[in-house]
């Protein structure tokens, strides 16, 4: 990456009078971004062809993030193409491969929402893979900065104390046999190892969620393989196809090999369920 990047920093961040905005003045900024994406494609999808994804997959994100440590991304799969997985890539994050989402037989993959940390102004790519193994990508530019190295928020202590606590809410009308949208909340600090304690000069050790497996009556709904970009206390909205009565089971494993399992009776216990 020999390209010169000059940033013109104008004003700074949210709290205490600093609002983060920076504008890249270099003409080659756009080139650098597409070069970065080309590099990532080779690394993440070696030897694969990626087609334009418009019409197959849609990615929505706020153009300017209100909180860089918690940027909501919505992935919509509008067509009736059989999509088996989606990969979310935040190009300029320290760990660009932010998540891989694999849909199972009981999934309703049409809408998926996750919250991610965004470290700097970046392109974000969502890449869908259909059942024939073809890849489709769409892109969004997101203005956010400091989401990865931003120091601990006031919630982090609570997240650690309540580690593994979960809540499940149904956010659309429940009707047996019909797809329903659910929201899963997980207490986890998701320390990414980039937050420094300035007193000890030590980084808070990384401790983050690796996988989330969601099943409904033993049928796979969604598998999420995540990395250091997932926000603190992640919230995931997804769709699945329930029957009259059933159990949604969530299993979370993290980078310390800890595992948390919760079961929610649907619809009965789904509104609010904790440890």
């Amino acid at each position: 990456m020999g390209m010169m990047r000059r940033y013109f920093l104008i004003a700074a961040c949210g709290l205490g009078g600093i609002v983060c905005t920076h504008v890249a003045s270099a003409d080659d900024e756009a080139d650098a971004r597409s070069e970065r994406w080309a590099e990532l494609q080779r690394a993440i999808f070696p030897g694969r062809t990626i087609s334009e994804g418009a019409g197959v997959i849609q990615l929505d994100a706020p153009p300017r993030a209100l909180d860089a440590a918690l940027v909501p991304f919505t992935i919509t799969l509008p067509s009736d193409k059989q999509i088996k997985s989606v990969v979310l890539v935040i190009d300029n994050n320290p760990g660009p491969l932010a998540g891989r989402f694999t849909f199972g037989a009981a999934a309703d993959p049409r809408s998926l929402q996750v919250r991610m940390r965004v470290n700097s102004y970046t392109n974000v790519h969502a890449v869908a893979e259909d059942s024939a193994g073809k890849l489709y990508a769409v892109q969004k530019f997101v203005k956010a900065s400091g989401g990865c190295s931003a120091p601990a928020g006031s919630n982090d202590e609570e997240s650690t104390r309540n580690l593994g606590q979960m809540k499940l809410k149904l956010v659309s009308e429940f009707a047996p046999g019909e797809p329903v949208q659910a929201q899963l909340m997980i207490r986890h600090p998701n320390f990414n190892g980039m937050q420094m304690d300035q007193l000890t000069r030590l980084y808070t050790p990384a401790h983050f969620i690796r996988t989330i497996d969601i099943t409904y009556d033993d049928q796979p709904v969604l598998r999420i393989e995540s990395d250091i970009s997932l926000s603190t206390d992640p919230v995931i909205a997804f769709g699945f196809k329930p029957s009259t009565q059933g159990k949604l089971r969530v299993e979370v494993t993290d980078s310390k090999e800890q595992s948390f399992v919760r079961e929610f009776a649907v619809p009965a216990a789904a509104v609010s369920s904790t440890l």
Binding site: I10, A11, G14, I18, S154, N155
Partner: protein
């Protein structure tokens, strides 16, 4: 083409800054070395902060800061938003009195209130703060300093000064003939809010537990802030010096406007959560009726909704 549009935007933003700093051009050289303060009660001098975000032009002089002069010594509260801001405040003090500066209060961790502290190291005062401030400074101090230097230029933010006297509940400090009552608050605006009452004049310094006119910024707990605000009301102070806004207000009427903002935020965020609105869409829906009441609404309100959402979605 893309490069061109970015450059033109940069010019547009710089243009906006020039408008903000235009009034500064009329200042005389002497005045620019010190801050303009108002004596709002006997011995209490307050500088009004600009209702702007931090910029190279305003040197982050955006918070209300000042000092209290007693018979024997001076207390500074707060020290300012940058080393430059603190140095100017110190000159204002020295233009008025040679009494020793014994205390520099640090009302909370936000940079616009504490980065002036470096200007007072030479006075060897006690730097007084909430017991939770060291922890917050450890987590954020360097991050804030770097962000501030991006705005002000390298070397212009000032050092991170660690507090030397911590308050975990309540305590008093003496300036000679007048005592200041210090109170460490539960998590509210931040996790480390310290308020002060000057007993001689009945003046309350709630710092950023009270915003007037400028959109509040939520960085602690929404529910906690409402509780602490109502507790401060029970003090029945004669007057208050908000962290942002006019240098002197009637606490009850100013607090009622902030309370209305916070309660609207609480009620409508809860409602949005109950209605299944997602966190990305909530800022456009929640609290819009408050827009007309506050400056810098677009800079802070959306962030506040996001913070409130995070706090309330686990209820």
């Amino acid at each position: 083409m893309r490069g061109r549009s970015l450059i033109s935007r940069r010019h547009a933003v710089l243009g906006a800054f020039c408008l903000c700093c235009a009034p500064g051009l009329s200042r005389s050289a002497d005045e620019s070395n010190s801050v303009k303060t108002t004596e709002i009660a006997r011995g209490i001098h307050v500088r009004r902060g600009a209702d702007e975000v931090a910029s190279a032009q305003n040197k982050d002089a955006i918070a209300n800061i000042g000092f209290i002069v007693g018979r024997d010594s001076v207390a500074v509260l707060d020290s300012g938003g940058s080393l430059h801001d603190g140095e100017r405040l110190r000159r204002s003090i020295r233009n008025l009195t040679d009494l020793p500066i014994r205390y520099v209060l640090m009302s909370h961790v936000h940079p616009d209130h504490i980065f002036g502290a470096g200007a007072f190291l030479q006075d060897k005062p006690a730097f007084v703060a909430h017991a939770q401030l060291p922890q917050a400074l450890a987590q954020r101090g360097e991050y804030y300093r770097e962000r501030l230097e991006e705005v002000l230029g390298r070397g212009n933010a000032g050092p991170i000064v660690q507090p030397t006297m911590l308050v975990s509940d309540r305590t008093q400090i003496e300036l000679g003939g007048r005592s200041l009552e210090l109170r460490a608050h539960a998590v509210a605006h931040t996790s480390n809010d310290l308020s002060v009452v000057d007993s001689q004049t009945g003046t309350l310094f709630p710092s950023d537990l009270l915003f007037v006119g400028r959109t509040p910024s939520l960085d602690g707990s929404l529910k906690g802030w409402l509780r602490e605000l109502s507790m401060l009301g029970s003090i029945h102070a004669k007057q208050a010096v908000p962290g942002h806004g006019p240098v002197r207000v009637n606490f009850a009427s100013a607090a009622s406007k902030l309370q209305q903002y916070l309660e609207t935020l609480l009620r409508e965020t809860r409602q949005a959560i109950a209605n299944g609105v997602d966190i990305g869409a909530a800022p456009e829906i929640v609290g819009q009726s408050e827009r007309k009441n506050w400056t810098l609404f677009d800079e802070y309100h959306g962030h506040n909704v996001t913070q409130a959402f995070k706090e309330l979605e686990w209820e």
